[in-house]
Structures are given as structure tokens and as C-alpha cells.
Amino acid sequence: MLRFILRRLGLAVLVALTVSFISFSLLFLSGDPAIAIAGEGANENDIAAIRKLYGFDRPMLLQYWDWLSSALRFDFGESYYFRLPVADLIADRLSVTMILGVCGISFALLLAVPLGVLAAIRPNSIIDRVALFLSVAGQAMPSFWFGLILIVVFSINLRWLPASGAESWRHFILPTIVLGYYAMPAIMRLTRAGMLEVLSADYVRTARAKGAPEGLVLFKHALRNAIIPVVSLAAVQMGFMLGGSIVVESIFALHGAGYLAWESIGRNDLPTVQALILVFSLFYIVFTFLADVLNAWLDPRMRSS
């Protein structure tokens, strides 16, 4: 088991390195960062001076090596845009994103798994139809539209919740609903499909035949098996939420890491983008790893393989 984990970790580091190298090369090709730093009012002398100041005139591999060796010491350099250490900037923005991500995925799971199970127990019933409707609506509604509707209803008309900002837990309610609801349909459909398949399996029929109580059959025998792919999916969704909740962060003015990444790309703020890509890829790697461990715990067959 330990050897397995170590090998997986080694692989993870290689993946992170590859991602960072590829993104570094792509960013390098995407345009002259000196022009972006200089801003709209600069003339060519300003730009040349900046190019030299930041060392953009050196070979790419050299620049990458410099970045990597500092990154290993948690020094991601200074943001070209904010002129602040990237590590501080990301730490600040990441806290908002983490809270939002954890709340969002919890909301999605709390809504999707019970709905999926209920829908699978009574296929084609009214519950199944309602669940289907909810998931189609969640899939079809653009987040920015849903978010603004919630703001109109809960912030403007009812005045129950603040429209934007991240000052208190109340500020996170609406964004959590929007983000979680967007992730819900896939989890729910997968839970339903998994449960349907498992419920018709021989061992469930055996369990029922030997007179096991229905609750035990559903949760111990069926759900435990059906949930395995859901765990993997939720891990990916979670990674997506941490890096990709740009729209939600922008509508609710949350200033999280996703929004920071999106804006930094437009600003050619290379150190920030580079560091964020590394952080996001590490998230994916960690979550996938945790999901594998969790699945191995749920399904003993996976432990041996």
C-alpha cells in the first residue's frame, strides 16, 4: 500500500511539472508581457525598459528554470500587475475559493445523492420526474443568469441576503447555491444510474431474499457500491469548482482564485498565472488521490489492485 502511494505521489509530481512546463511555454507564446505591464499609455521605450527589467529578453528555458527553482521554495515572485508577492495574493484569494468550493460540493452532494437514490428506488415515479426536472434545469440554466435571479429575489425584493462580497457566512449562501446547483445534475444522474444497476444485481436480490431490512439493503449493500463512481466524479467537480468558478466569483464579487486566474490571463500577469496553474493542478492531483483512497476504503477489491 505504501509503495503504491509513493509511486502515485511521484507520478503526481511529474504531472504537476509537465503541466507547469506546458503552461509556461504556452504563455510565453501568447504575447509580449512587457506590453501588458506597460499599459495603454506606454511608448516603445517604456516597453523596452520593462522587457529588460523583468528579463523577458532571456531564453525561455532559463526563465522557466528560474521560476521553478524559486517555486520550490514557495517563492512565486511578484505579481506584475499588483506588485505584491504572488504567494500572499494567492493565499488571500484561495481562502474564499476554498470556502466556496467546500460549501458548493457539500450542497451538491446533499441535494444530489438523496435525490438520486429516491429516483432510483421509484423509477418513473413523480419523485423521479421531479429529480429529472431539477437536474435538467440545473444543467440548462447559465450560472450568471441563475445567480442574478437569486440576487433579484433574495437581495433586492426580500432583502434577506447580501448581493455581493465575502464579509460573512451570509455572503456565501447564494454563491453556494448557484455553484452547487450547477454541479448537482451530473452527480444525481450518476447516483441514480448506479443505484438502478446495483439494485437489480444478484447480491441485492439475495440480501432482500434473506430478509434484510430495506434500509440496510439500500445503504449498506446498494449505495456503497453505487457511490464509487460518484466519489471520483465529485473529486473532479471539486477541482473544477476551485479553479473554474469564475462566473460565480465574478457575479457575487467574491474575488477568489478562479476569478484571479481569469483576470491574470488577460493582464499577462505571468507569475500569478503560473502559480495558479500549479496550485490548480495540485488540487486535481490531491482530490483524485483522495478519491482513490476513499474508493479503496469503500471497495476492498480496489485495495489489492
Binding site: 504575447g31 500587475y81 450568471f144 483576470e263
Partner: protein, 503 residues
């Protein structure tokens, strides 16, 4: 498009919500920025939001009245050109910075010498690189030496150049100044959460300068990127003032009647730049005068202004903004005449028109309208929307045949801030006309205002005759605020908190 429809929905649904509750009670004006400001240090940002904070936190040596455009003393009380490149200023006595440091000649000398040094990397070199150095004569007298005769100096000293405390700036540098700014201005900084949240507080010991005393006790600025969210916060009373509101939404809010909607012009000018010098290939059609004239005749400036820009925008025919010093308006104008445009294209050897790449970096809807006018006379456009820096990159390499550009002149009210920026054979100069260059050289450096005016007029006339650009329109911006706020926005796109008060 969906977003605009949604704006209607937001406005419609909230009509019933009634008036906003006031923030007058806690003497706090809540304002939204749309863009994350990079740094509050005004020499290290190139953003409009930065100009707004700069005018609140710091003072310049000179002040230009935004309505009369008259120059009066601010941190300086009088000034005089000793020779063509030396400006001597007498400083105001008894002024202190927010941290208690007294203001005197040492602060001016330090600030000027620091920002004028290119190695310190002030972002907008154009604002500061005309200064060579500053020299202390006594505690309240300084001389600023310019690199060459520079008549626009007074304008720059009343705009982007503000005075920093020497001891504090030497200690904390631009990064420290960006997070804990110290100035002499009407507002003190309480807190800066970089890019996200800025809190200012009235400076109760503000000197008796031309800006007047601040009236509103506290200014709370949050960055909210989404305009619809800003509107929602305005409607439920958690914001008091928003600006840069799109015109269609501003019109709808005005109909609601609960808020003051004020439209003002800005100095930003939209224009088409054409590769007259043939940098993107000597065979490119825009090297032909007739083609450039055809482009100018193809555009219906009046309709663009009435239907798209609205408000206080006006059609523009010059390579500068009309209020700028030297921006002569009696130049050749090209009226909207698509038939004439087609005839000119035919004369130039393109009876069936031609195909060209067409670039833009902002205002997609304007760019698309412009492209349709070009298409109508036979100029088929391959439209490409790029980020500003990417387009600028292409432009500097000379790979852009025609593009939709805009320029805001940093609110500097002098033609040099626009026409001289683009027609002095720099990397962004598409015309490279020696005659224009010669006139601009004289106009930029003469200390005689009459000579300056004459040569800007000559340069602008030649640019218009040669149709190097197709200038189109000026921009405007909408300010929306609760009816408890009393404020008259000015035509330079700068929010002045010290001019605001509660009704």
C-alpha cells in the same frame, strides 16, 4: 445580448422595490469599481480607478479647475519659467502629509527625481519622462528642470504628477505606498485590500487649497466586476454611486426615477487607424489616399453617436479631443457618403472593393457597426477581436492594416497627449509623415502658445487631408447615484469625492 436583456429584467423586477435606504445616516458613501486596481500608488497604475484615488489621496503642485480649465496653485502657490527648461515654484507652507510629515521642497525634489528616473519604472513614462530633475532652492522654493522645452508641463503638474512624502516613500517604496498610501489630499486612506476594497476617510486637517474641504466623512469602495450586481446593490441600498454604466441600462434607471443619472463626455476618442505607411505590406490598399478617404466617407458618425454611444458623445473629425489645447477644429471633414466612398474605391482601382483584416480590442458592438459600414461600400472585413496587449504587439510589428482604436489622453487637456503620441514616427505611427513630424516638433516644444496652436493646426490639417485616420466619436460615461448625493460630474471621467456632499 443576454446580459442586456437581463438588465431589463433586473430593472423591471425592482421597480416595485421602492427607494433605497440611506447611508447618509452613517456618513459613508459606498462606491463600486468595476476593475481590480493594480496598485494605489498613482505612478504604478494606468487605470481610471487609479486617477480617482490619486485625486482624493494626493495633491499636485498645480490644480486645473475641471469646469473653467483655469490653472491655480495647489501645493505650489506660484510658478514661473526662468528659462525654456526651468520652472521655479513657490510652495505652500503649513501643509502636512497624513502621517504628520511636513510638506516642503525636499518632498518635491524626492518625488520628481524618483519618478523621472526611468529605472524606477513608473508605468506611464509619458507622464513623467519630460522632467529631468528637481532642485531645492530653499525650504519652500524648488526648480523643476525639463529635458527639453515642454510647454505642457503645467498641465501634467496639475494632472498625473502628485507629490509624495520623501521620508515615507524612501522607506516603503511603491509597494508600501500601494498598500498604505500617504498623501496630502482631502481623503486619508483607512485600509487597502489590494484590488478589492478601499476605505477612505475625510482629512479633517486638509489645507485650504483649491479642491475645498471634503464633506462626506467616509468613502467605501468595493470592486464588483459585474454591472448587473452593481445595479442590484444600488437598488437595495448597499451602494450609493456607480459609474461607467452602459447607456441602455442608464436609460432604464433614469425611467425608474429613484436615482440621479448623469451623463458626461470623456476625453476618450474612438478612431480607425490605417496603415498608410505600408508597414503591413507595400501593396496594402490603405497606402492609397483615395482608399483612406473612402473609409472616412463610409462612416456615418452621427448615427454611431445617436444609436450606440448616446449621451454627450459627439462626432470627432480630428486626431485629438476638441477641448485639448491646440486641437484645431477647422480641418477637412468627411461627410457620410457611401456612393462617394464607392467611387473613390473604384478610382483607386478597387471597383469591387477588397478584403482586409480588421482589428479591435474593446467595444465589440461599436467595432461590428463600423465593420458593417465598411462592408456596405465594398470593404470586406475579416474581423478579429484581440486583447489590448496582443493587438498592440501586432501593431508595433506593423502587421495591422486597419484597426478600431481609442485613446483617452489620461485626461491631459493638451493636444500633445494625443496627436504627438501617435504621429511622431514611433512604433505605433501608421503614417510616418515628415511634414506632420516637423510641425509637431515645433508645437510640442515652443513656449509661445500662439506658435503651438499654429503648428498643431498645420499638423492636424495635414492628418485630415491625408486621411491617415478616420476619427469617429468621443466617448461618454454615465454616473448613477442616489438622490441623497449632491454631485456634478465633470467632462474628464474623474470622480471627485471632495466635491460630493449629502443633500
Amino acid at each position: 445580448m443576454n446580459r442586456y436583456l437581463l438588465g431589463t429584467a433586473v430593472a423591471a423586477l425592482t421597480l416595485s422595490a421602492g427607494g433605497a435606504f440611506a447611508d447618509k445616516s452613517d456618513d459613508t458613501l459606498r462606491v463600486a469599481f468595476t476593475k481590480e486596481l493594480e496598485s494605489v500608488d498613482s505612478y504604478y497604475n494606468s487605470a481610471r480607478e487609479g486617477v480617482v484615488l490619486q485625486r482624493a489621496i494626493w495633491d499636485g503642485l498645480i490644480y486645473r479647475d475641471p469646469v473653467t480649465n483655469e490653472y491655480v496653485g495647489n501645493l505650489a502657490t506660484s510658478w514661473e519659467w526662468i528659462d525654456d527648461t526651468t520652472l521655479e515654484l513657490k510652495l505652500r507652507e503649513g501643509v502636512s502629509f497624513h502621517n504628520g510629515e511636513p510638506f516642503n521642497a525636499d518632498d518635491v525634489v524626492y518625488t520628481v527625481n524618483f519618478v523621472a528616473d526611468e529605472a524606477n519604472g513608473a508605468v506611464t513614462q509619458n507622464n513623467v519622462n519630460w522632467m529631468e530633475s528637481a532642485e531645492k532652492i530653499d525650504d519652500y522654493t524648488v526648480r523643476i528642470h525639463t529635458k527639453a522645452p515642454y510647454p505642457a508641463a503645467i498641465e501634467y503638474l496639475s494632472g498625473p504628477v502628485s507629490m509624495y512624502p520623501n521620508e515615507y516613500y524612501a522607506e516603503v517604496g511603491p509597494t508600501g505606498m500601494g498598500t498604505a498610501p500617504i498623501g496630502t489630499g482631502p481623503y486619508k486612506v483607512v485600509s487597502v485590500d489590494p484590488g478589492k476594497h478601499f476605505v477612505l476617510e475625510a482629512n479633517t486637517e486638509y489645507h485650504d487649497g483649491p479642491k475645498g474641504q471634503p464633506e462626506i466623512g467616509r468613502i467605501d469602495i468595493r470592486t464588483i466586476p459585474e454591472v448587473n450586481t452593481q445595479l442590484a446593490e444600488l437598488f437595495n441600498g448597499t451602494l450609493d454611486l456607480i459609474w461607467q454604466v452602459p447607456s441602455d441600462q442608464a436609460e432604464r434607471i433614469e425611467q425608474m426615477g429613484d436615482f440621479v443619472v448623469s451623463n458626461e463626455s470623456t476625453m476618450r476618442v474612438g478612431y480607425l487607424a490605417m496603415d498608410a505607411a505600408g508597414r503591413s505590406g507595400a501593396d496594402n490598399p490603405f497606402t492609397d489616399l483615395k482608399v483612406r478617404q473612402a473609409v472616412n466617407h463610409a462612416l456615418d458618425r452621427e448615427t454611431l453617436v445617436d444609436a450606440l454611444l448616446k449621451g454627450k458623445s459627439t462626432p470627432i473629425h480630428t486626431a485629438c479631443f476638441p477641448s485639448q489645447f491646440g486641437c484645431a477644429q477647422d480641418v477637412t471633414e468627411y461627410e457620410y457618403d457611401p456612393e462617394k466612398a464607392k467611387a473613390l474605391l473604384a478610382e483607386a482601382g478597387y471597383p469591387d472593393g477588397f478584403k482586409t483584416e480588421f482589428y479591435a480590442y474593446r467595444d465589440r458592438e461599436f467595432a461590428e457597426a463600423i465593420a458593417s459600414y465598411l462592408n456596405a461600400v465594398g470593404i470586406e472585413t475579416d474581423f478579429k477581436m484581440l486583447q489590448y496587449s496582443a493587438l498592440r504587439d501586432l501593431n508595433m510589428k506593423g502587421e495591422v492594416p486597419i484597426s478600431f482604436q481609442t485613446w483617452g489622453s489620461f485626461s491631459v487637456n493638451d493636444a500633445s497627449a494625443m496627436v504627438s503620441q501617435f504621429f511622431k514616427h514611433g512604433e505605433l505611427d501608421d503614417a510616418r509623415d515628415d511634414e506632420v513630424l516637423a510641425d509637431l516638433d515645433i508645437a510640442d516644444s515652443s513656449t509661445d502658445p500662439a506658435v503651438r496652436k499654429e503648428h498643431y493646426a498645420l499638423a492636424l490639417q495635414r492628418i485630415a487631408d491625408q486621411a491617415y485616420w478616420a476619427p469617429m466619436f468621443s466617448y461618454n460615461t454615465n454616473y448613477v447615484f442616489t438622490d441623497e448625493v449632491s454631485y456634478a460630474p465633470t467632462a474628464d471621467e474623474v470622480l471627485r469625492f471632495h466635491e460630493m456632499s449629502w443633500k
